[in-house]
Amino acid sequence: MTTSTLALAGTAATRSKSISLATLVGRYAGLLLLACVPLGLMWNDPYWLNILAYAYLFAALACAWNIIGGFGGQFSLGHGVFFAIGAYSVARLYLDLGMTPWLAVFPAAALATLVALLISWPTFRLRGPFFAIATMAINEACFALANYTDRLTGGPRGILIPFRAGLWNMIFIERWKYALLTFGFMSIVVLITALLRRSRLGHYLLAVREDEDSARSAGVDVLRVKLLGMALSAALTGIGGGIFAMYVRVLDPPTLFALPDIGVKFALISLIGGIGTIMGPVVGALLIVPVENFLRGTLGGAIPGGHLIVLGIILVCAALFLKRGIVGEFTGAVRRIRNRKRS
């Protein structure tokens, strides 16, 4: 097992080093441009623009999750905590100190990172399902605490950001500006993950995911690698939370901490799109968010819960038939065709 892990890391290293940085950026810029096409097509339809803005934002958040969940193999269900910290921080800095959200996202990300490190340092000794459950429990504990404390989070009332349009405020009248903002954020996160993948930290994360013990015996500082991955993941999630805050402008504990809508959804999007791939979360989000909205729009009023029944069936079928996620299946199929051509 040791040899195979290192060999894997090795091949990955050789494969990616053979691509120059320029080609890498070019390839992903191309893919991102493809993801931008819906934005171009629907630029004056506010309904679709809203969905796209949301989809791009969640694509970015899923990519951020993917750094530690996909590359690192640490299945966290507690990213909602970092998301909420980002949202509350930006809201508070904006409302209380008049700071522009464009700058406020950075201290928000820093705070999310700090909390992530504090939480992760003890919990990283847990593996697999134990880690997942521990992070889920932390999410719930923070939910209860956010509901209880009035001063920072506004308690159950939450924080409401009044509508005051302006670039400085990151509040826009036109939806296409929001869509462009979240698209930009998503592009940045995708490029960061692409760069991470070919960096040393990226390879260490993958090695840790494949076989933690072998990685450790090969000299990798496993805890440090995990913590770095988590720090990056949490920082980006916090920024996403801040953007969410300026978009939805109604922030209460249920909206920010609900597991099915936030914490679990990041993982779900990555899983459907292709966990551990770079564009997987993007594909997943661009699929799930519109489908969910479409289902709610058409079935939502008629049968109570009707659209969620369909969604549940879709999720189960996707798990059964798209085992490696959409991107995973796609690249697998491509590889098979290539091998067949070769033979």
Binding site: G73, F75, L126, R127, E140, A144, P260
Partner: protein, 296 residues
């Protein structure tokens, strides 16, 4: 002093409820090693099945248990065979699939019942029994007694019978068990069926206590996971004790600290315990080391 005793007993009985819901999950988790998000929904479905039996067939809920539990056993077999077994080598997809099942079950019940909260008729829930001079809720006492019995029976099953030993072997080391001739797939089926049947028992016994709603499963599931992990993977006495501990912590912190914080408190205790002793109270040390990526 009476208050203290009251809280103690209430905590123990609450712990019984947690243990009951968790005991099936513990088995599934220990053997099949997946986070079964849908376990709470099995309890919910069993509760509604019990409601159906009592309301439309006129059967006493404690007798309905003998109908509901076997039904849930079969249901569990079906779920394991159709959804989970094909995903055996994709643990993350299994989690994903169980989450899909959660959404499916919850909303199917919602569509069927239109969201109306139902309760079991009859005076079961108002029966009070004298314990040490305190009046104790009869239905909760029954839960405690039954789960204690189940825990004992399950321990004997795992220790003394062949299928039980097979289950324990798979909990310890799946690969080695296979090498020793254990049919791992059949063990999974059996375990999942058993875990679902236990959820069925939980549903039947809890139906007189709570108002039924399609979302009630979600209220139990997180606590159930915490109990399972706290108690120790695959350890039946661990799950039993874990449930009692969680119930007591919740009861005491709710009264002496603040009911609004009790959830946060035991979550934090749970995480702390996990960090100090990750294998849980009575789990095998090192069992938690086997992460999501399983040996095949």
């Amino acid at each position: 002093m009476e208050t203290f005793l009251n809280i103690l007993i209430s905590g123990i009985l609450l712990g019984g409820i947690y243990s009951l819901v968790s005991i099936g999950l513990n088995l599934i988790f220990g053997v099949v090693r997946i986070i079964n998000f849908a376990q709470g929904e099995f309890v919910m479905l069993a509760m509604y099945a019990t409601y159906f039996c009592t309301t439309y067939l006129g059967i006493n809920p404690y007798l309905a248990l003998f109908v509901v539990a076997p039904l849930m056993f079969v249901f569990g077999l079906a779920v394991q065979r159709t959804v989970l077994q094909p995903l055996q080598n994709e643990p993350m997809m299994q989690i994903f699939a169980t989450f899909g099942l959660l959404i499916l079950f919850e909303n199917s019940m919602l569509a069927l019942t239109r969201g109306e909260a139902r309760s079991l008729s009859g005076s079961y829930s108002s029966v009070l029994i004298d314990v040490f001079g305190l009046k104790v809720s009869g239905v909760r006492l029954v839960v405690f007694i039954v789960v204690s019995g189940i825990a004992l029976a399950l321990m004997l099953f795992l220790q003394r019978t062949m299928p039980g030993k097979a289950i324990r072997a798979v909990i310890q080391d799946r690969q080695a068990a296979r090498l020793m001739g254990v049919n791992v797939e059949r063990t999974y089926l059996l375990t999942f069926g058993l875990g679902s049947a236990l959820a069925g028992v939980a549903g039947a016994l809890l139906a007189p206590i709570y108002t039924l709603s399609p979302y009630i499963g979600g209220n139990f599931i997180l606590a159930a996971f915490a109990v399972v992990v706290l108690g120790g993977l695959g350890s039946v006495p661990g799950a039993y004790l874990g449930g009692l501990i969680v119930g007591l912590i919740e009861s005491f912190s709710g009264y002496y600290v603040d009911p609004a914080l009790k959830q946060a408190i035991w979550f934090i205790v749970f995480v702390a315990a996990l960090i100090i002793r990750p294998s849980g109270l009575m789990g095998q040390v090192g069992a938690e080391e086997v992460g999501l990526r399983e040996q095949t």
